[in-house]
Symmetry: C2
Subunit: 523 residues, 2 copies
């Protein structure tokens, strides 16, 4: 593993700007290490926005307990989990498991870490999950991709690699994610191998493992062991996505994967995936109580498998179109759910995952942007710790857009600046600068302006702020067209982070051997 902790963070730029200064030797030295500009994950100074009182939160917690006691959860096809729950004090009736009030909470609070470090294979990319930190990861799970040149089509492994490369190249994406899109051209039972390998090969940021089968989770762990050199018991190098089959069902596939990760000290995000009105009641407080109940059971399972295994309380909730029954995003109700769930996670004392750049629009138009911005504002102001789908999401997740990815990254850059809050230093207060500037005199040449101008404002890579006339002359491009040029430039300039040749060979051999052991399955 190459240690690149000696590389200082680059200035926060959204564009393709290269680090300046240091000369040719320094650039050569840097090239031996790592190539991507980056800024650290967000550590906020602002207190989160709250939409309900502590009393209301306590009521929702009690409602979650009532649900777990009265109705419980269906633990489908996974006797081992039922045994663990029973041994811990749950009431078992066939596959229905009911939990005495407070049981799950006390188990989770007894051993789940409030915050954990997820390591990247480049230690400079390590992220802290939990507390006041926010980590951005790309879109997850889309079978389709879209770009301005080729339109919408099934995603391929090449698309997958491209998104990993774009995420690696963005200074504002801290985590390489997981199934950034579904590489549909690879057999369904083998694509996890290519995906995990791609994250290791084309990025050095932390990543996620496969959850679509217990054996695939094990493959992910085995690949990570090769990449990180040995046992993982003392470190967490994967955070993986375990979705409930809401309402109130955990199934064998997800629990099986979660068990593999927990056994190996790897992190699981337990996420009720709620389309309100379909997988839960339509009301915010109802969605929150059910989500908390489901997530509590998932996190309890991980703690019973291995006390101290890192877990994240996840929440994914959408509203519903009354015309079509389709999920809708960027609307008020999911934002309210997010704020409530974030507060519940803080009270429980575990990291929280939700939000992202969610939208229902098929294309990266104004609908997509309004919806994504609304969701991202709640994500940031709510204090989400791990943000999946932070960039690229379109069409309720069915598609990832190349242009949308670049636009969202630009927005993530803005969020880095926003959460720093207000500089109240004497330079920030600027009293003397104001008092010494004659009324009516502009500040463009003022010494304070000149001293602060370069770093004063977030510089968008997408926005066109030129005059109308110049914009007209340059072809009346919209944001999509500018983003189209940017992702192509980013891919053209991409250079892979260094990877030890022996490790790379061992990874490739593992992938080849595992593929050879299985006949192709078509998805």
């Amino acid at each position: 593993m190459t240690d690149t902790t000696d590389i200082a963070p680059a200035p926060a730029e959204g564009g393709g700007g290269r680090r300046s200064g240091g000369g040719r030797a320094a650039r050569q030295a840097a090239r031996l290490h790592s190539h991507a500009e980056w800024v650290p994950f967000i550590t906020r100074t602002l207190a989160p926005f709250e939409v309900v009182s502590e009393e209301s939160l306590a009521l929702i917690e009690d409602n979650a307990d009532t649900i777990l006691e009265r109705t419980g959860m269906w633990i489908r096809d996974y006797p081992h989990a039922i045994e663990l729950f029973k041994a811990a004090g749950a009431d078992v009736d066939d596959e229905r498991v009911r939990f005495p009030k407070g049981l799950c909470r006390s188990i989770v609070q007894g051993s789940a870490p409030r915050q954990y470090t997820q390591r990247g294979r480049n230690p400079a990319r390590n992220v802290e999950i939990g507390g006041m930190n926010t980590v951005f990861a790309p879109n997850y799970g889309s079978p389709f991709v879209r770009d301005l040149d080729r339109g919408r089509r099934y995603a391929t492994l090449t698309d997958f690699e491209n998104i990993v490369k774009l995420a690696y190249s963005s200074p504002y994406i801290h985590h390489s994610g997981g199934t950034v899109c579904e590489p549909v051209d690879v057999p369904v039972n083998k694509r996890h191998l290519d995906m995990v390998y791609s994250h290791i090969k084309y990025s050095d940021k932390p990543f996620m493992g496969s959850v679509t089968a217990k054996s695939r989770a094990q493959d992910s762990v085995d690949l990570a062991r090769i990449a990180f050199g040995g046992d993982l018991a003392d470190r967490t190098v994967m955070t993986s996505l375990i979705n409930a089959s809401s309402p109130l069902v955990w199934d064998a596939t997800m629990l099986g994967a979660a068990e593999v990760y927990a056994e190996n000290n790897q992190a699981n995000i337990f996420t009720p995936f709620i389309l309100a009105g379909a997988m839960a009641p339509v009301t915010v407080a109802g969605v929150a109580a059910q989500s908390l109940a489901e997530a509590l059971v998932g996190m309890t399972f991980a703690q019973l498998v291995r006390p101290g295994a890192p877990v994240i309380l996840g929440s994914f909730a959408s509203s519903m179109s009354m015309q079509t029954g389709a999920p809708t995003f960027g609307t008020p109700e999911p934002s309210l759910v997010l704020y409530v769930m974030a507060a519940l996670a803080r009270r429980l004392g575990v990291p929280f995952r939700s939000g992202g750049g969610l939208c229902a629009s098929k294309i990266a138009d104004a609908q997509a942007a309004y919806e994504s911005a609304n969701t991202m504002q709640a994500t940031i102001l709510g204090g989400v710790n791990f943000v999946l789908h932070a960039a690229g999401w379109l069409e309720g997740g069915l598609s990832i857009g190349y242009e949308k990815f670049m636009m969202d990254c630009d927005q993530l850059g803005m969020m880095h600046t926003f959460v720093k809050g207000v500089d109240m230093s004497p330079n920030g207060q600027a009293v003397d600068a104001i008092c010494d500037n004659d009324p009516g005199m502009h500040y463009l040449g003022n010494a304070h302006t000149l001293a602060n101008f370069e770093t004063a404002f977030y510089r968008s890579s997408i926005a066109d702020n030129n005059s109308y006339e110049q914009w007209l002359e340059e072809g009346e491009h919209d944001a999509n067209q500018r983003a189209n040029l940017q992702w192509k430039k980013s891919l053209a300039e991409y250079e892979a982070p260094p990877l030890d040749t022996a490790i790379d060979e061992e990874l490739r051999e593992f992938v080849a051997r595992r593929k050879a052991e299985m006949p192709d399955e078509l998805g």
Copy 2:
């Protein structure tokens, strides 16, 4: 004046849906009153988001006082204002006026109302400005308009009337605004007459008066007297926009207009208009201190003219493009300024104006939407009381877009839902609904879903949430194309609110007479 307070608010719908039920007679009765769907202005239940501590706010207040004491303000070409300030205890040196620490604050706090009612000519449209209320008004001041059919062009009086009609027809715009666009086809010294008349004729919501000359403010007051039937001393029927010539200048035009309004008990918004780096330092705390200083002097002037005259503390701040020096919007720094200024207004105890759907984009693309949504989120979460530019704004205010107007109105609808917060009633908590629903069973046919579905979610008028295939079949429309159909439908269905024929004739006579008294001036 027709009293329409007997008409109940329509359900919160973004679309052009008509109130259902009641039959033909009820519809005929309604037609005699008022035709537009509407929902009341926002009264929020959520506490505002705070980005700095009370200590930091006190520091910024002290900095504003230091600025007013050390440097003071240039009161340009308006001796009467200087006399008033001197008599109140200010230190006068020619046109430079310096204020002892605390003077402006004590004058403003001594007589400015915390909250006031602005009346519409239809009493059902009255709005409460201040406190926990938020009132939305359209775009202001654009010389250009844009729509999808005709592109960008100079605005005309017809465009002005169209925007007034669209604002009247939107349930989510509570206030008709002022110069919703500049009717460039009318001579510059006469267009205020047509503008004020249009607000009265084509809407019954509250509106703003002219501020471009003292005589035009007086014309506005005279027209309002006709419309509201007599003296205005006991009621506020206009809220007008008084912008500072930052840094630290108030000029005769603006103070002259403000004086007319204050004398007549009409409201003034005193707004420092800051492009940070040009009219103020680049830092957030610097912009805030200077803005507070400038606004305090404006509000003090109004209180000296007539103690108790309604005033609003305004703040308009943009960041700057480092490439071109152009203003930029939807970026983190203006949001931080907004949150700080909102908190300062609350501490001072006056209503606050800022925000809106601000953007720099020339068209209603993803850039426009990201920027507008980011600004609107800060507007809502910061607790702004009076929101100018809530709909239509493009190109840093140079242009108003018809499609953008409809998109923004849809967003305003969402904000109405968001600020209601979380329903914690038993029905909202939905515990029994969850407990009585078997795990794995969907909620689509659940009694709780059926009972709540119709009102559960905000229904966007712009978003397409259909399947990809259906969207494709319907022509792959983007948000602009859908909004284009909507504003045309809204204008086609527009019916003017009732206006007493005698009043209408008197207004028309006044406009004709005043126009005849002046030769045309070209702008």
